[in-house]
Symmetry: C2
Subunit: 224 residues, 2 copies
């Protein structure tokens, strides 16, 4: 089945102590977002890759592409106010019956194994959401107090979240709700059952300078 990947890169970079939006920060001499695009392209040369960027960053992206001779074919669309609106903008370019991966631009360390498993499970079950188990004990706030949660039943959710195109297009055909923290929660609002798939621990979301340093180390490990 045809495959799409919508890479959402809407971050403003406020948490990075940097005026540069975090998807443009350099990892091994190249913006994070380019690593992310390359990761999906090297997985499948025929995948349609759609990058969703805030309107005001598209010219910067174009300039970086030229300067770094970045030659990975992809489309670019301007995003919206929330991640939800950006994904919706990307979905507008999905015209075929297909499998659609939705991925954070600042997760360049997703493994090909994870991508493979998510597409395979989405084809079988309609949806696939990658996760890792927490290494730490977990608690939840409960009024002024907190209580332990059973760690082995907790799932830390990553991307790519992959869906059959008809499922996710229909799910996103609704208004924004602040409870939508990822694509899984949007799909559930449409009555879709979310299938959980094993992710890879290195697939961290890069949101702080420490994360960037850690990503540099993990990138070298993934290349070995």
């Amino acid at each position: 089945m045809k495959k799409y990947c919508i890479i959402v890169a809407g971050g403003s970079g406020r948490r990075m102590k940097s005026s540069l939006p975090k998807q443009f920060l350099l990892l091994d001499g190249k913006p994070l977002l380019m690593h992310t695009v390359e990761r999906f392209r090297s997985f499948d040369v025929n995948m349609e890759i759609i990058v969703v960027l805030p309107d005001e960053h598209i010219s910067l992206w174009d300039r970086l592409i030229t300067e770094l001779s970045f030659d990975v074919t992809h489309s670019v669309v301007p995003g919206g106010e929330e991640r939800f609106h950006s994904v919706k903008a990307g979905l507008a370019l999905v015209t075929d019956e297909s499998l659609v991966a939705i991925h954070d631009g600042v997760r360049p360390l997703v493994s090909h194994d994870t991508i493979w498993r998510c597409f395979a499970d989405a084809e079988e079950f309609g949806s696939a959401v990658p996760f890792v188990e927490p290494a730490d004990s977990v608690r939840i706030l409960d009024g002024d107090d907190s209580r332990p949660l059973p760690r082995k039943e907790i799932r830390l959710v990553q991307t790519p979240q992959v869906f059959r195109s008809n499922v996710i297009i229909e799910a996103y055909d609704r208004g924004f709700d602040p409870a939508f923290t990822d694509d899984a929660t949007v799909a559930e609002a449409a009555g879709i059952k979310v299938h959980l798939t094993h992710g890879n621990r290195e697939n961290i979301k890069i949101t702080t300078p420490e994360d960037l340093a850690v990503a540099h180390t993990l990138l070298k490990l993934l290349k070995q």
Copy 2:
């Protein structure tokens, strides 16, 4: 108030693809456990540090101390079958009314700020358990299904977990229960309210070769 730190190093190293127990793996040329001991000693030269080790690893520890001329004063006691029993063995050496920190031997990257906050909060509230918020969306298994949890209410729990000595000694005066995943859950079984304190994100539990590589990077950042 007098301060103790019980450092529990009971891991068998099975997950590290290494026959060496993980607390002995080298970080910057020195076993993890020595980094952890030093972190507490450099925080407070007067703190009583108690290292709990599996009986069969004590001679290896002694040898490493000699070989590396490790001169940080500490006591060593043999641990028990579960982490619970090891902590109990360490608590037997706590003889003064004091504040007692209980810390994982494989968390060498705890910051002095975290240690400081935990002792201060334990003195005020009786207990202090450090946490960070998850960077990812969070779900919990629910039968064959799963459901989202509100990320902002989730706490990933670290160590040192610090308690007033009378509180934690009394709490550990009971039988083992598999629901005891950390000291907070033992304290709660004794009716103690757990106070949550901000930890530091670098304070990871080192359980895989990838964690060790990441720790190496974070150690350099902490030293800067």
